[in-house]
């Protein structure tokens, strides 16, 4: 990856991410406690996740399988032998005084995930250094009301399975970081690995960032790496990185400080203020005294196990986009819009496209009608009251000339509203296909009443015929405008 400064800025921003994802398991990583979010504090706990004397961990096989799925989708190499390690540190939300994690032999490493800007501005393949499994800590709640510092600990989250994904410093702008995170989230949701709900803490991002600055003499200066924490949305990741890049640029101009001149700094993102603030350096010097967890046995992973997980994985979003664009001849942009809505919506689209045998029309209906309705009404495609068959029926009738697209939309709205079939709605609205004789007599009537338009058309101004269509729809709302136009022109030509 080159790091030549872009034309617009005198530096390149170099970003690596550390993402923690909570796995969607029913129970915790090393005990049978439920992982449901939002339960009353300290109600989903047992001796193991409370770290009581004598308690022992037992690995949750489902968590390991989900983590394997994520690592495979991230194109990682899976270790055939992996083990657990203890990361030792004192904190009240860590009841054992150590976190069970993976240190020198993570279960997977050396992967990548590609993300592209939907408008084609950039595409970036980001290397994954490692993916490992670990248990989450509990939550400290600090209540400093009335000047009395009071801390409460909720250990419901303690022991929840987390996947830690560490990327190479391959991202080159805050926007790239946001787009890549979106792609990662989409992938993990598609795989059923995590719900990636940032508000509930099931996806957390820390970012490492520094600048590569090209000096006038052609040499490269690198600013000290800063780790940013406390970012609660992808939007704040983007903002924090942008702020940090300009802060580092100013600092470099003022001090010229380069990478290696000071220990790595940790800064917290203050979202309302829109700034990063330095945190205490103390954590940097901490020594976690990692050593192999003696209460757990190492895990071996067989080729059969990997094949089994791979078989149950489903199509990841990247492959799905390419396939949709190719099979249904829709644009990359349209495929992206559909895939971003999730696997269920894509299935709905493909059902519609198959029934109509026209991917473009199906995609237009998805985006203009189905998605808009979903956005207005809320809810998911799984609970959508109109079926692909009904929409395909409407599209078919439009194609056959029973009515035009705008009339079709009215029918769609009525089907949505009443829950009745397309045929019923068409009948109830009195829509019937207008016969050839009926159409001809209607057109003759119109021509007789509009000698001026007839004259204009005869004089070569064919577009003047459009003036007849509105009148035709007033006389009979079921007429097809294209047929009215065609028939009128035909009658005028024949004289």
């Amino acid at each position: 990856m080159t790091s030549r400064p872009a034309a617009s800025e005198p530096y390149t921003t170099v970003i690596g991410l550390e993402v923690h994802v909570q796995l969607q398991t029913r129970t915790k990583l090393f005990c049978g406690c439920p992982t449901t979010f939002g339960a009353a504090p300290n109600t989903q706990v047992c001796p193991t996740c409370l770290g009581l004397p004598g308690s022992l961990p037992v690995m949750n096989r489902q968590a390991f399988a989900l983590a394997l799925r994520a690592a495979l989708a991230l194109n990682c190499r899976i270790a055939t032998f992996t083990k657990w390690d203890r990361k030792n540190y004192f904190y009240p939300d860590l009841p054992k005084g150590y976190q069970i994690s993976q240190y020198d032999l993570p279960f997977s490493a050396d992967g990548w995930l590609e993300a592209a800007d939907p408008k084609g501005a950039f595409a970036r393949r980001v290397g994954i250094i490692r993916v490992h499994l670990e248990e989450d800590a509990g939550k400290s709640m600090h209540d400093e009301a009335a000047g009395v510092a009071d801390s409460r600990i909720d250990l419901n989250r303690a022991g929840t399975p987390l996947c830690e994904i560490v990327t190479q410093p391959d991202l080159r702008s805050p926007q790239e970081a946001r787009v890549w995170l979106n792609e990662l989230k989409l992938l993990l949701v598609y795989l059923g690995v995590s719900d990636c709900n940032m508000q509930e803490g099931s996806l957390r991002v820390d970012a490492n960032v520094n600048l590569h600055i090209l000096r006038p003499d052609g040499s490269l200066a690198k600013t000290p790496i800063v780790e940013i924490k406390n970012m609660n949305s992808f939007r704040s990741v983007e903002r924090a990185l942008a702020y940090e890049a300009s802060r580092q640029w100013e600092e470099w101009q003022a001090t010229g400080a380069e990478l290696g001149s000071a220990p790595k700094q940790t800064r917290g993102w203050d979202d309302p203020a829109g700034v990063t603030r330095g945190q205490r350096h103390k954590e940097e010097s901490s020594d976690y005294r990692y050593f192999p967890e003696p209460d757990l046995v190492p895990v071996t992973v067989s080729a059969e196990q990997i094949a089994e997980v791979r078989a149950g994985m489903g199509e990841p979003p990247g492959e799905l986009r390419a396939r949709l664009a190719d099979r249904w001849r829709i644009s990359d942009y349209d495929a992206d819009v559909l895939v971003n809505q999730g696997r269920d919506l894509v299935a709905w689209f493909e059902a519609l496209a198959t029934l109509t045998d026209d991917g473009k029309v199906a995609s237009n209906w998805m985006q203009q009608d189905v998605l808009r309705t979903l956005n207005e009404r809320g809810g998911t495609i799984a609970g959508f009251p109109v079926t692909p068959t009904a929409v395909a029926d409407i599209i078919g009738r439009i194609t056959r000339g029973e009515f035009d697209t705008s009339r079709g939309r009215e029918i769609f709205a009525a089907v949505l509203e009443t829950g009745r079939s397309v045929a019923d709605v068409v009948a109830a609205m009195g829509i019937a296909a207008v016969g050839d004789d009926e159409l001809e007599s209607l057109c003759r009537e119109l021509l007789a009443a509009n000698p001026r338009i007839v004259a204009d058309v005869q004089g070569g101004k064919e577009q003047a015929a459009s003036g007849l269509i509105g009148q035709a729809k007033k006389k009979n709302p079921n007429v097809n405008p294209a047929r009215v136009r065609e028939k009128c022109l035909d009658l005028i030509r024949r004289g």
């Binding site: 001796p47 770290g51 004598g54 022992l56 009240p92 600990i153 020594d287 005294r289 209460d295 757990l296």
Partner: protein, 510 residues
């Protein structure tokens, strides 16, 4: 024969036939505890009422013709390192004084389901760290054979209570010799099974890769009886073995003819008390007379056992004991008023000048641990913390793991030519209380013959093989390959059929 002098096998049979009621049985031992434990200090808690209730319930069920468990009515004393819901579990530490676990250890559950009656919790070295029981926060246990001497440790209370007839059977735990050494010094039989043979769930961890629970009793036959109940796979302990549990009691009487016993020359080197050496040599002669053959074997890395053990065990301990921080349970230092006031002014994120603590939280941690732990526990936490620190890991912990593998290999090689290895349990008989407390290194050497078993993860048993001229028991240790418990128990049992050392009882002041 008085009730308390009878073996566990006899007591269980007597209760089953109705010759003895469970209540009479339990009452007899409770009476003995009341009579003599004032001298011995073997118990940290005695569950008198609950034990009698359980005994009465067993008698009721028997009278109603309902089935009884395999250990019905048998009083059992449990080391205070095993969690019990009906009695505190303190590990003989101020840190856990009064701590009441919300669950029973797997072994305790198995005993209860077999209708054994847990009569009390036994004294020990704090968090099982020590070889003399002097590290108990609740006073040392005294050796029933000589009250001025140590019973050994860390399961000293369990050994002493059996030796003094306060319980027919006790449960101990052995990390580097903590069952075998006190059994040897108290003249009883103690088995350290293969690592993983018995679930560790609910055993308060000292060094997880070395800890193993085992039975302590007056005879190998009694140990076999209890082992049958407490051994077996536990899905709640990832390190527990899935192998089927053999009928240990039914395999005891096979003859020893053809048994190959290994003798390690370095076991008889400097530091071995001559009386102990003589007792052990006589035991070899006894085994030979019973049809066994004696062969010289080598354990080339045995000298590295103590340094290896005293790296691995403290490293694991430093992490296992991190949870005792005063935040969630156990001892918490009383807040220092002046400092809390400063924290209340919103200064809690700044380094506090007073006392040199970074924050009130760190101060609470430091003071709680300083007050809650005794000196030996602190020493081992510091040793382990140091050895695991960045820059030292490879030189200490990683190297110790490599030596541990060599020691394991030594045993595998030796067991290709012999079935068991015999030798002394400890280099001296019971020493005087206070004799070694000023010299931690000398104290660590009492484990020199026992730590190898734990490092290798194999089985070992110790039982009396004689007495010194001053009347102190001498212990013999047998070590066997992984899952050789049937053979270890059988060899000890055959030896006990040929000798009477295990029958002798100390005379305690009434």
């Amino acid at each position: 024969m008085t009730i308390v002098a009878r073996s566990a096998v006899e007591l269980v049979a007597a209760v089953r036939t109705g010759e003895l009621s469970a209540t009479a049985c339990v009452e007899a031992f409770l009476g003995r505890i009341a009579a003599v434990d004032g001298h011995v200090n073997a118990f940290l808690a005695v569950s008198r009422e609950r034990a009698l209730e359980q005994a009465a319930a067993i008698d009721g069920r028997r009278a109603a013709g309902r089935p009884l468990g395999s250990l019905a009515g048998l009083p059992v004393a449990v080391k205070d390192a095993l969690c019990t819901t009906d009695m505190p579990t303190t590990c003989a530490s101020k840190m856990l004084a009064g701590y009441r676990p919300p669950y029973d250890a797997e072994v305790v559950g198995r005993l209860r389901r077999a209708d054994a009656v847990i009569v009390g919790k036994t004294n020990m070295d704090e968090f099982a760290m020590g070889g003399s029981n002097e590290n108990s926060a609740f006073g040392p246990v005294r050796n029933p054979w000589d009250l001025s001497r140590t019973p050994g440790g860390s399961s000293g209370g369990s050994a002493a209570c059996v030796a003094a007839d306060m319980a027919p059977v006790a449960i101990g735990s052995d990390t580097g010799g903590s069952i075998r050494q006190p059994a040897g010094l108290c003249g009883i039989t103690g088995l350290k099974p293969t690592y993983g043979r018995i679930s560790r769930r609910g055993l308060v961890a000292f060094a997880s890769s070395l800890d193993q629970i085992g039975p302590m009793a007056r005879s190998a036959a009694d140990c076999a009886l209890v082992l049958e109940t407490i051994a077996g796979h536990d899905p709640g302990d990832a390190t527990s073995l899935g192998d089927a549990v053999p009928g240990y009691t039914t395999l005891l009487d096979e003859p020893l003819a053809g048994l190959r016993i290994g003798r390690v020359k370095t076991h008889f080197g400097p530091g071995l008390d001559p009386a102990v050496a003589e007792g052990v040599e006589q035991a070899f002669a006894t085994f030979e007379a019973a049809g066994a053959t004696i062969h010289e074997v080598e354990l080339p890395h045995a000298d590295y056992g103590i340094p290896t053990y005293y790296l691995i065990a403290p490293c694991e301990a430093s992490s296992n004991l991190a949870r005792y921080d005063g935040a969630h349970y156990g001892h918490r230092a009383k807040p220092d008023g002046g400092h809390r006031a400063a924290a209340g002014n919103g200064r809690q994120h700044e380094p506090a000048a007073a006392g040199g603590f970074d924050s009130p939280l760190v101060e609470m941690y430091c003071r709680s641990r300083a007050e809650g732990f005794g000196p030996e526990v602190k020493r081992r936490i510091m040793l382990g913390t140091y050895a695991l620190s960045a820059g030292y890991y490879d030189a200490f912990y990683a190297k110790a793991l490599r030596v541990r593998r060599l020691i394991q290999q030594d045993y595998l090689t030796a067991f290709q030519s012999v079935d068991l290895i015999a030798g002394p349990v400890s280099p001296t008989p019971a020493f005087k209380l206070g004799e070694k407390t000023g010299d931690p290194l000398a104290m660590y050497l009492v484990d020199m013959y026992t730590v190898g078993t734990n490092l290798a993860g194999i089985g070992g048993i110790s039982f009396p093989c004689g007495f010194t001229p001053t009347g102190l028991p001498i212990g013999l240790q047998l070590q066997g390959p992984a899952l050789s418990e049937p053979l270890l128990l059988r060899a000890a049992h055959r030896y006990q059929q040929l000798t009477e050392w295990h029958i002798r009882r100390p005379a305690l002041p009434a």
